[in-house]
């Protein structure tokens, strides 16, 4: 019930924020903050009820009651579809990240949006609701529903409040996600039908569909259906091309949400559905998936270096970083998987901050072209320092979250495939190339701006510094004392591995 | 005797149809069409359907074709129209439609090939038709009536606009204006 309430708060908050626009145009963003705050409170209060040791218990994959919170309500009983939400450590981490980045997104759009601010905040909150739903839903059809729910408000955010080429970007984003989502729907329905054949009753529940004895070819096809949907969202190498356009054209808050959270739904999906539902097929597929990940790491980094648009550069760096996630997930040991989870969180924070930086630059300079910037440190030292911090975070400086993530992934991966590791390690070098290039073009060197512009430049104010400082602290915390996060995710990863070791040939294949 | 009459009527119907649809002059074509319809009416009669034959003559050949004639006369298609039609009927335009029609005809012939049945030769009186029509088929009658009503409304609607501002009328009005001006000038 508490989880449903969480989603309800976000959905209703969106509606209220929309309507409040009539009274005052500043009201929606305050309401938005309050809504997210309420949702956070709701989350915390529902966790308070739990016994402290329940966080360290390894949940049984096939037993719903072993999860932290589980809630089920019949919805369309005829087809075994229910409103089933559940939370374990992984979902908890990601929901937390979602809500916190939601606050960041609201803060980053504080003064940016003049046109229909109410509807903007509504879409923002509905996107958050959709994402939280995705992280919580355990009924496959409900999951698909939320998958779509998060898509449409995001589409609107890009299409209405985006930049110069918004229609193209929004359409591209929509079509990529939608087409791949339909593949997933096909897989879901086929899987449920297989469940009917096997169990004798229809059910879309995760727990009923886990470990169905499937024909290996069928399992492989179904796994591909899920995999493609998630990998498009991730995005992995050959299906990433929607991302630079969408990120570049989206308003700042949209980019923050897209990069910070929406990409994580892909990784989450792989971890929650694609791998556990089809362990054998995923194992067979692991090499291809890892190759895609490694290719994405290098390809994204090279393309990031080639960009002149600040946001596009950050977008390609996301492709590169999410390649690490794919590598980590399919390396299939607890080090690499922990690394992947860490990467989701750390990348969420660091990229969100960089997009916020891009938004702030665009608001001040009315351009995203880095060749028209340069030397900004002199005029805006605080902004420069923040940019520097997040640039070195994204190139994987030890002591910050991204390093922990990448190091864990690579250490785990090395045991599985040293060659892949070597390729991915090249990504460390290329990341340095593009991050420092970005710093050079924007904050260092000679300024390319007109004196008229530079005279009126405003450094970060209190609100922006506060947001940035919060994110810096988060990254430092993740980088220096990530243990709480690791502890929270460990049971989930253990249960995943328990699922996988069911069949002996998998254990062999992983060696 | 009846048989030969049937074949004669059929022959006339076919020839008239062919002629009707290959004429350049609309009025001529229409006359051939009426001939064709009358021949079909004879066939109906010979097939034992006097009521249908009567209706064919009255409504088809009578009312509908007269409507055609009215329209053709109203449009006043002159010799230039005929010349244009000739041009449009040059042999190369016949190839594709002719081929398709021939194939279809061939297919129908093939379909008819295997079945062989003689006609009953019984006369079906108008009374029998009427009993059926207002018995089991009463719904069809209602639908037909609605269709006719729709046709009526449609025809009226389409035609009225035309009637309101025909070219003749416009010419007439222009003439009237000129006359007024002439009157005003001296």
């Amino acid at each position: 019930m508490s989880l449903a309430l969480l989603l309800g708060i976000l959905l209703a908050g969106g509606l209220v924020a929309w309507l409040s626009e009539r009274w005052h145009k500043d009201l929606p963003r305050w309401l938005s903050l309050v809504t997210i705050g309420l949702a956070l409170l709701q989350l915390v209060s529902s966790l308070n009820v739990l016994a402290p040791d329940s966080f360290t218990l390894v949940p049984d994959g096939r037993d719903a009651s072993s999860w932290l919170i589980h809630y089920q309500l019949a919805w369309i009983p005829r087809f075994g579809i229910s409103f089933e939400l559940a939370m374990d450590g992984l979902s908890l981490l990601l929901v937390l990240l979602t809500l916190l980045l939601g606050l960041v997104a609201v803060a980053s759009s504080w003064t940016e949006i003049d046109f229909k601010p109410g509807f903007f905040q509504a879409n923002l909150l509905w996107t958050l609701a959709g994402v939280c739903g995705v992280f919580l839903a355990l009924d496959l059809l409900l999951f698909f529903l939320f998958w779509e729910v998060m898509l449409i408000p995001m589409y609107l955010l890009i299409a209405i409040w985006g930049h110069e080429n918004k229609a193209y970007a929004a359409m591209k984003f929509f079509i990529f996600t939608q087409v791949s989502g339909l593949l997933m729907l096909l897989s879901i329905i086929t899987l449920a039908w297989q469940g009917y054949v096997h169990n004798g009753y229809y059910s879309f529940s995760y727990f009923d569909l886990l470990a169905l004895p499937l024909d290996s070819t069928l399992a492989y096809c179904l796994m591909l259906g899920f995999f493609i949907a998630f990998v498009v969202k991730l995005p992995a190498f050959p299906v990433h091309t929607w991302l630079p356009d969408a990120h570049t054209q989206a308003p700042t808050a949209g980019s923050v949400l897209l990069a910070g959270i929406l990409l994580k739904t892909g990784a989450y999906g792989l971890m929650r559905f694609s791998i556990p539902l089809f362990p054998e097929a995923s194992m067979q597929f692991a090499h291809i998936a890892m190759s895609l990940g490694a290719a994405g790491v290098i390809y994204g980094a090279v393309l990031a270096f080639a960009q002149s648009d600040f946001k596009r550069l950050v977008a390609y760096s996301s492709v590169s970083h999410m390649g690490f996630v794919l590598l980590g997930l399919y390396a299939w040991n607890s080090l690499a998987m922990q690394g992947a989870v860490m990467q989701m969180l750390a990348h969420g924070v660091s990229t969100a901050a960089l997009f916020m930086m891009a938004g702030a630059l665009q608001q001040r300079l009315h351009t995203r072209n880095m060749f028209k910037m340069g030397g900004l440190w002199y005029y805006m030292p605080r902004m420069g320092a923040c940019a520097l911090f997040f640039a070195v975070a994204s190139l994987g400086l030890p002591g910050l979250g991204n390093f922990v993530a990448e190091f864990l992934i690579l250490v785990g991966l090395f045991a599985v495939s040293p060659v892949m590791t070597a390729i991915a390690t090249l990504g460390l070098i290329t990341a340095a190339v593009y991050s420092l290039w970005m710093m050079q073009q924007t904050f260092q060197g000679k300024t390319q701006l007109a004196t008229k512009t530079t005279a009126s430049l405003q450094d970060f104010g209190g609100r922006e510094m506060f947001t940035m400082a919060a994110m810096m602290l988060a990254l430092l915390w993740l980088g220096l004392y990530p243990q709480p996060v690791l502890d929270l995710a460990q049971p989930v990863i253990d249960s995943l591995q328990a699922l996988v070791t069911i069949s002996p040939q998998i254990a062999e294949a992983s060696l | 005797m009846m048989e030969s009459l049937f074949y004669l009527a059929s022959f006339i119907a076919l020839v008239a149809t062919v002629l009707a649809l290959s004429r350049a002059n609309a009025t001529h074509a229409l006359i051939y069409l009426i001939v064709s319809l009358l021949a079909v009416a004879v066939i109906f009669f010979l097939l034992g359907a006097p009521f249908a034959a009567a209706l064919e003559v009255l409504i088809y050949a009578g009312a509908i074709m007269v409507l055609f004639i009215f329209v053709i006369m109203m449009l006043n298609l002159g010799d230039s129209g005929v010349a244009k039609e000739r041009q449009w009927l040059s042999p190369r335009y016949w190839i594709v439609p002719g081929l398709l029609a021939a194939i279809l005809f061939g297919e129908m012939l093939v379909a008819l090939q295997h079945h062989s049945a003689a006609l009953s030769g019984k006369m079906i009186s108008p009374k029998a038709v009427a009993l059926e029509l207002f018995g089991p088929y009463v719904l069809a009658v209602e639908i037909a009536s609605m269709l006719l009503l729709a046709g009526l409304v449609g025809a009226y609607h389409l035609g009225r606009r035309f009637l309101a501002r025909t070219e003749m009328e416009e010419e007439l009005q222009e003439e009237l204006k000129e006359q007024e001006q002439q009157r005003a000038q001296p």
Partner: protein
Amino acid sequence: MNGLQIPLEHVLIIASFMFSFGLLGLMLRRNIIFMLMSLEVMLNAAALAFVAAGAKWAQADGQIIFLLILSVAAAEVAVGLGLVLQIQRRFKTLDMDTAKRMRG
């Protein structure tokens, strides 16, 4: 009255021929009036087939369908000729190849 002693096929062949020829006219002619005439021929051919079938089974249904066809033809001609008038007014021609505003 002892009626006609010919096979049903012959009538049907005549009907088919008329139908095919009507179709040919429809495809061939550019003048809308001729197209309407072709339609009449086709309807008529269909009606002939129905009546012949009715005669085969000595049932009234064939003629009833003929009646319905007749009413369809009447309605069609009424509306069709109204359209002819409109087309003439709008396009100053009856050539259907010039009236192709329905192009996609």
